[in-house]
C-alpha cells in the first residue's frame, strides 16, 4: 500500500534532456487531476522551471545527479474552506539554496535570466523551499479552482 494520495514518485538524473519527459508526465497528470488547460500548462511550466533550477543551481550543471519528484493528491482546509489539490515535491542533494538569491528579481528591467521563480510563484498557490539535513526540498501546491469545478453543483 502506498502513502495516501501518492500518484507518482520519479527519480531522474539531472540531465536537461529529461525535462521534456517530466513535462509530458506532469502535463498528463494535471489533466487527469481536473485542472483547466491554462492551469495544466502553468503547473507544468512551474515544475519544468523547478527541475531546471535544480540542474543548473543545485547541481551546477552536472548531468548525472539524482533528482526526486513526487506528485500526490491532497485535500486540506485552507482558511476554513475545504480544498483539493495537487502537491509536487522536489528533492535534491545539491548545494544549499542561497536564501538571498531565492527572491524573484524585478520584472521592470529587461535582461535575460531570473524569470524561473516568477513563473513558479505565478503558477502555484504554495511554493516553499526548505533545507532538511543535506537535502533541498521544494514543495509546490496548486488547488483546484472550486468556482470552476462547482459550476454544475447545487446552490449556484
Amino acid at each position: 500500500m502506498q502513502k495516501p494520495g501518492l500518484l507518482l514518485d520519479v527519480v531522474l538524473v539531472s540531465d536537461p534532456h529529461l525535462l521534456s519527459v517530466v513535462r509530458a508526465a506532469v502535463e498528463r497528470l494535471t489533466e487527469l487531476s481536473g485542472f483547466s488547460p491554462p492551469e495544466c500548462r502553468s503547473i507544468t511550466r512551474a515544475v519544468d522551471e523547478a527541475v531546471a533550477n535544480v540542474i543548473r543551481h543545485a547541481y551546477g550543471g552536472q548531468p548525472n545527479k539524482r533528482i526526486n519528484l513526487s506528485c500526490r493528491r491532497i485535500s486540506c482546509t485552507v482558511k476554513g474552506q475545504h480544498r483539493e489539490g495537487l502537491e509536487i515535491q522536489l528533492l535534491d542533494n545539491g548545494l544549499p539554496f542561497d536564501r538571498k538569491k531565492l527572491t524573484a528579481r524585478s520584472l521592470d528591467e529587461v535582461k535575460p535570466g531570473g524569470l524561473g521563480l516568477h513563473f513558479m510563484r505565478d503558477s502555484m498557490d504554495v511554493m516553499e523551499h526548505r533545507r532538511v539535513g543535506r537535502q533541498n526540498q521544494l514543495r509546490l501546491v496548486k488547488y483546484i479552482d472550486v468556482n470552476a469545478a462547482g459550476q454544475d453543483s447545487q446552490g449556484e
Binding site: P16, P38, R45, A52, K111, P112
Partner: protein, 109 residues
C-alpha cells in the same frame, strides 16, 4: 528543437519546431548570435508556429537575440506564437519589447 534558416534578400527567417528548454536554448542562442554577427540582413524573423513550449531559458535566449539585433540596428521579429509561448512572454512582461506578428506575411511587410 529543430532550427532551419531561410535567407531572403531583406530577412533571415528561422523556422523553429519542437520545445525550447534548457536542453537546447544554448543552441538557439548560439545560432541567433552567429546569424546576427555573420549575415546582417535587416530583419531576423523567428517562425515559432511549430513551437509548443518555451521555458525561461528559452526566453533568455530570445532576449539575447533581441539585444544583439538592436545593437546593430536590425529588427528582431517573432511570429506564430502558440498559447504557451504567448503566456510565457506575457508572464515575463516581455511581450511588449518584442515585435510580434501573427504570420509570415505580416512579419515581412
Amino acid at each position: 528543437m529543430q532550427i532551419a534558416a531561410r535567407r531572403l534578400d531583406q530577412a533571415t527567417i528561422f523556422d523553429i519546431t519542437g520545445h525550447i528548454d534548457l536542453a537546447n536554448s544554448p543552441e538557439l542562442r548560439k545560432t541567433l548570435l552567429k546569424e546576427l554577427r555573420e549575415n546582417k540582413t535587416p530583419r531576423v524573423i523567428l517562425n515559432l508556429t511549430g513551437v509548443r513550449y518555451i521555458d525561461s531559458s528559452g526566453v533568455a535566449s530570445l532576449v539575447e537575440g533581441l539585444k544583439a539585433a538592436k545593437d546593430q540596428g536590425l529588427r528582431f521579429i517573432l511570429y506564430g506564437l502558440s498559447p504557451a509561448a504567448r503566456e510565457v512572454l506575457q508572464l515575463s512582461r516581455l511581450i511588449k519589447i518584442f515585435e510580434v506578428f501573427d504570420d509570415e506575411q505580416q512579419a515581412l511587410a
